[in-house]
Amino acid sequence: MTSVAGAGAGSARNGRLREWIANPWGKPRVLPLVTVAYLAWSILPILIAIRFSFNEGRSRSTAQGWSFRWYWEDPDLSVWADPDLRTALFQSLRLAGIAVLVTVPLGTALAIGLTRWRGRGSGAARAVSLATLVTPEIVMGTALLLVFVNLLTFVPLGTPAQAIGHITFSLVFVLIIVRGRLLAIGPEYEEAARDLGASRLQAIRLALLPMLWPAIVASGIIVFAISMDDFVISQFLSSGTNTDTVPVRIYATGRTAPTPALNALATLTLAVTIAFAALGFLLWWLLKRARGDRESALEHLAH
């Protein structure tokens, strides 16, 4: 009796197994585990680091209550009170702001120009802009440091040099995003505008730009995020503690003088980046909706 039942259960399981293997759209069972494990591994350390920024005590490994001590309450060591930490936050924001304001228009013009311009020089110009993408940051950092120290000495190290560096490495991201959109749009709309009597600039302003705005906003978000994230260029071109950015400060004190204030600084930076990205996504979504396009923002970013 038991053996028959056992065999029955076995063949039923076999059948289910066979059915599962035979079904091309069935879900693999191991992959979701891997994915969930990866996401947990990816995000939990950050959540833990954020949690310790709210610690009441000095430890970054034992939960000791909750407070804003490391943000502003501590009179000496908090992010707000410690001049090094505070200037780092403002320096990061300043550089990211400059980078967005300069890179986005410069990159958009470059993208439109390089996409439509054919003939001598255009291929080389495209190759040079893409070369910035594959150049490791340490190479670009060395190159810029040496050029500012030895040749273009009118650019002082510190904010001006750092801003130039941030603009240089983020330019290609605007180029790629805006160019992708331009290639999808094609030249017909501008040509129609030209046929209707618009000048070249008018055709860009009236026909092309309205369709490009979502891509321009998306590239602004990316530029802000990679500028806030940048470490190597900011460090190589810094002129001292007063132009250190948040990542440079984390590097400088991460192993030597650890208090939860460093976690608080990192958390604030993350909050600012997410707030900027959220605002950008909202703007992006509104622009998209105004155009009746319903592709998800994340899908767009991923592609």
Binding site: G26, P28, L31, P32, L39, S42, I43, P45, R60, S61, L106, L110, I112, G113, L114, T115, R116, R118, S122, A125, S129, T132, V134, E137, I138, V139, M140, T142, A143, L144, L146, V147, V149, N150, L151, G165, T168, L171, L175, L183, G186, P187, A225, M228, F231, P247, I250, Y251, R255, P258, N263, A266, T269, L270, T273, I274, A277, L298, A302, H303
Partner: protein, 312 residues
């Protein structure tokens, strides 16, 4: 660049004045890149082939290629090709770390990207948000998070001691290759997942259905259709994370601080920012660039060959 050819074919008549207009639109950006990207590379060469001031030890670039001095290069190349010399040890270590970290990243990235792209279902948006999130968190903050976890009294030691794996807390941040490689994988894997996802999401589902209709099992379909198709995407994803890894010096500095895990990036940072022998640092950068250019050339050859095979 096939889309360019398509766009050009749509407009057979090249309008000269229009072309000048488009070129002038691109001009500011191109000029910027010439001034702050191409010119600096020439300066690296001039410093690498230059000398140092005898008293102040500041670099003295040789602007004229005819008067280039190869001493710094000889020093670097000798160090790279003498067995057991510091530069060679560091270079081989960098190669090993990058190879291990890239392979581990691929082992994590491919299944995750595959699952989200093909089986994300209604959770796809949420999963994608999780994959994109690290892009908005500074690399250094993510390393800081691991410093917190790996320190003597950190949670990693707590868990391992509690689980009986370790007898007592271990110092993970004192020159351990495993910690540095963990940090690199943790830091770079998100940059690998997204391009893989973008590719896998666009594989034509009808190809897989055809394979299944012809009798291939689920695994055979993957092995014979999906995996060969993703070859170029895998190579691109490897290049995307391997190139910056070769210039990494902050991960070993933060997670080990020991000369035992010093990478080529640490040497460059030391020579360039230490100030004593800047030409040696510049020569190291040139050698690193040459090495990466060879890797990139290999990548381009393989990609072009794969495209030709697929008739693209």
């Amino acid at each position: 660049m096939s889309e360019d050819a398509g766009a050009a074919a749509e407009r057979p008549v090249v309008d000269r004045r229009g072309n000048a207009f488009w070129a002038s639109l691109a001009l500011p950006g191109v000029a910027w890149l010439c001034l702050f990207f191409l010119l600096p590379f020439y300066v690296i060469l001039c410093v690498a082939f230059g000398s140092v001031h005898p008293v102040f030890l500041t670099p003295q670039p040789a602007w004229n290629p005819l008067s280039w001095d190869t001493r710094a290069f000889e020093f670097v190349l000798e160090g790279l090709f003498t067995p057991g010399a510091a530069f060679q040890v560091v270079f081989l270590r960098t190669l090993a770390y990058v190879a291990i970290a890239t392979s581990l990243s691929l082992l994590i990235a491919y299944p995750v990207a595959y699952y989200v792209a093909r089986h994300g279902g209604r959770y796809k948006g949420l999963l994608l948000a999780g994959l994109v999130a690290p892009f908005f968190i500074s690399y250094l903050m993510r390393m800081l998070a691991w410093i917190n976890l790996l320190q003597d009294d950190g949670w990693v030691n707590d868990v391992l001691v509690w689980a009986g794996v370790l007898d007592g807390p271990r110092n993970w941040l004192d020159g351990r290759a495993s910690s540095v490689i963990l940090g690199m994988v943790y830091g770079y894997v998100p940059f690998m997942i997204l391009p893989l996802y973008a590719f896998l999401d666009r594989i034509d589902g009808r190809l897989l259905e055809a394979a299944r209709d012809l009798g291939a099992s689920r695994f055979q379909t993957f092995r014979l259709v999906t995996l060969p198709l993703s070859g170029p995407a895998i190579l691109a994803a490897v290049a995307i994370i391997a190139l910056p890894m070769f210039g990494d010096y902050y991960t070993p500095d933060l997670l080990s601080q020991s000369p035992n895990t010093s990478l080529i990036g640490n040497q460059i940072s030391l020579y360039i920012r230490g100030g004593q022998q800047v030409p040696v640092g510049a020569a190291l950068v040139v050698c690193l660039m040459a090495f990466l250019a060879v890797l990139m050339a290999y990548y381009l050859v393989v990609t072009v060959r794969a495209q030709r095979r697929l008739g693209g």
